[in-house]
């Protein structure tokens, strides 16, 4: 398949692996930010190809994982109401709140629909004027423009029965939270290509400078990851600290200006709680006051009071910073499983703990005919 197979070529992958091996002289710890990248790494067995001295830490860039428990419980409370049609991206439906998940609400009779675009949710609102339609607006800068557009469009076309439950998060503050931790051991970042396609990468320059870490804007195909890893290792080995763009076929330095403009029109920056990590200042979006009619937390004022304590057993914050391996957690695989996760990285298949649960029995690569 064109434009896909080129980025999954085994011979080229081997060449990158060889180059990486050639230039690596010591241990390095890199973090890929985005859950989509983690997915590629796990799906293609990239860690099994890299030298053992390169440690990939799976970062907090999975919107499913980091959406706070409290927000899931609010979603569940809203979705359980009889006059509500609750819409969401597919994989949020399985994320457990403190007692149940959205799929259980659906099983109990809630009208919960999976959509591919928030604009479909606006369409559902137009088709069901007697119902209140709520869209679960989660995600990073990648999903924010479309979610902003849905609100903007609903306002323009006078759709009064549409609102969003907004739990948007932003990447750079999370990187800064990790880097500023005294126990940080991440030495270089693969920045999330699709986030940068929207935002550009100028906002990463001061981070690289201040914390002396290479940041490589990286795509999502296996060769992208290997190429990005090569670029980051090369910088580290040469003692350079730069923001480089591996994903130049999609990312421009300034990003997508019209999308940024729309986001700024609809959203403003706010403090945000990250599941498993805690509060990070200025790390999210909320709706601006002029769009408060479309804010589900205001439409359903009763959910605003919902507060939840996360499990004290979960060491997600340490895992996401690469300070602990998932299996070093006391509840790993026992009280905390993919079916009943206590913390963020066990939630999505992209999360580090879930990945370790699924792949912990990975046999030696030779038995699988793997490592070439």
């Amino acid at each position: 398949m064109r434009f896909i197979d080129e980025y999954r070529d085994q011979a080229l992958a081997q060449q990158y692996v060889e180059r990486i091996k050639q230039i690596t002289t010591r241990e390095w710890t890199l973090m890929e930010i985005c859950g989509g990248q983690t997915h590629t790494i796990v799906k293609y067995g990239i860690e099994s190809l890299l030298p053992e001295t390169i440690n990939l830490v799976h970062g907090p860039g999975c919107p499913v994982c980091v959406t706070p428990l409290e927000m899931i419980d609010k979603a569940i409370a809203i979705a359980s109401k009889s006059d509500v049609i609750f819409t969401s991206f597919g994989d949020m439906l399985r994320v457990p709140g403190s007692t149940q998940d959205l799929l259980s609400v659906k099983a109990a009779g809630g009208d919960i629909r999976m959509v591919y675009s928030p604009l479909d949710a606006v369409k559902i609102a137009q088709q069901n004027p007697s119902k209140t339609v709520v869209f679960f607006a989660v995600g990073f800068e990648t999903t924010a423009p479309a979610n902003a557009l849905s609100v903007w469009q609903a306002k323009q076309s006078g759709v009064r029965n549409y609102s969003i439950l907004c739990s948007h998060v932003l990447v750079p503050p999370a990187i800064e939270a990790i880097l500023s931790s005294s126990s940080n051991r991440v030495q270089g970042f693969l920045a999330a290509g699709h986030v940068c396609a929207v935002m550009g990468y100028e906002e990463y320059l001061p981070l690289a400078e201040k914390y002396r870490v290479p940041i490589v804007v990286t795509g999502f195909e296996p060769l992208d990851i290997l190429h990005g890893t090569y670029m980051a290792i090369k910088q580290l080995e040469e003692g350079r600290v730069e923001v480089e763009n591996q994903y130049s076929r999609a990312v421009r330095r300034e990003g997508n200006i019209p999308a940024q403009k729309l986001m700024r029109q609809v959203f403003e920056v706010t403090d945000r709680h990250w599941r498993g990590i805690g509060e990070i200042p200025s790390s999210g979006f909320r709706l601006r006051d002029e769009f408060s009619d479309f804010d589900a937390e205001k439409v359903f004022a009763d959910v605003a009071t919902i507060t939840v304590q996360e499990s004290p057993d979960c060491i997600a914050g340490l895992v996401l910073q690469g300070l602990r391996k998932p299996y070093e957690c006391s509840v790993f695989g026992t009280k905390c499983t993919p079916e009943h996760p206590l913390g963020a990285p066990m939630v999505s298949t992209e999360g580090a703990c879930a990945a370790y649960i699924r792949y912990k029995h990975v046999p030696s690569a030779s038995a699988a005919g793997g490592r070439a």
Partner: protein
Amino acid sequence: MNTQAPTDIASGLVCPVPLQQYPSVLLAHGSGGKLTQQLIEQLFLPAFRNDLLSPLHDGAVVTINGVRLAFSTDSYVINPIFFPGGDIGELAINGTVNDLAMCGARPLYLSSAMIIEEGFPMEDLARVVRSMQAAAHCAGIQLVTGDTKVVDRGKGDKIFISTSGIGVVPDGIHISPEAARPGDVIIVNGPIAVHGIAIMSVREGLEFETQIESDTAPLNSLVETMLAASDKIHVMRDPTRGGVASALNEIARSAQIGISLVEERIPIPDEVRGACEILGFDPLYVANEGKLLAFVERDQAEKVLQAMRQHPLGTEATIIGEVVDAHAGSVVMKTSIGGSRIVDMLAGEQLPRIC
């Protein structure tokens, strides 16, 4: 006779997720993945356990007066009922025919029970019945008994069909999931994930334009061709719900063998791959109809492949992997870039990812 005490239902819990943690049934309990497995292992199997049921094959093989009969049942609740390349009626015939064929049986007779929702258009019902008639003719079986129920509007979803079937297993044929052994190669008769994507393309909220049509087909004549070519076919399985990944995991667990797949060798049409990329699905977990996986002794593989390729449903038959001594109970795949990963069972329904 097996008289299990009721407490066995609770004491038989081996999985980290006890059944009691689900106060009600979720869709994922019917997805063919882990939760379905749990339901079977923790509720159904303890209640009904016997030597014929326990292998959890697509059908049971019972011996009556020296004649081995394969017996199987399945329900069809597909939405939408008419889809590109087929409909619920055709599926209801082919599905049960195929379950029998996967036991190595020659399917003979089917029953059909219909649960119809009040208000269902008579014209649609006639269309479904005509298509069942054509499928039965094509598979060479007879529908010999049936039942009809109508439920209140809103209490069903248009039409549900349940079919059961019996067939005769010829002498010398012994096919079952536990028969897989190291050295077997794994053959698939053609491109995978086609049916699931065809259904997805017309499902509400997901509609996308595509030429992809369901691959639903009766596999009994292909199976006959294969069995005529070699008596060293150990396992056959049609990877329907849950896809190739779930079917292979079930076999790996049941036979306690390791399965090694080679990603590059798994045939997936470009259109299906494209749709999976866009939707965030893994084709290994997408449903198939009209596809089978066969575990064949290595030195017979070429003979079986040649025979399959002469058959219209096997022209693209190919080897996708093998049975190995290592990693018993699990499926490991060599990925297209040369890495390796475990191909697990699906934890719930396959849901589109955000990122």
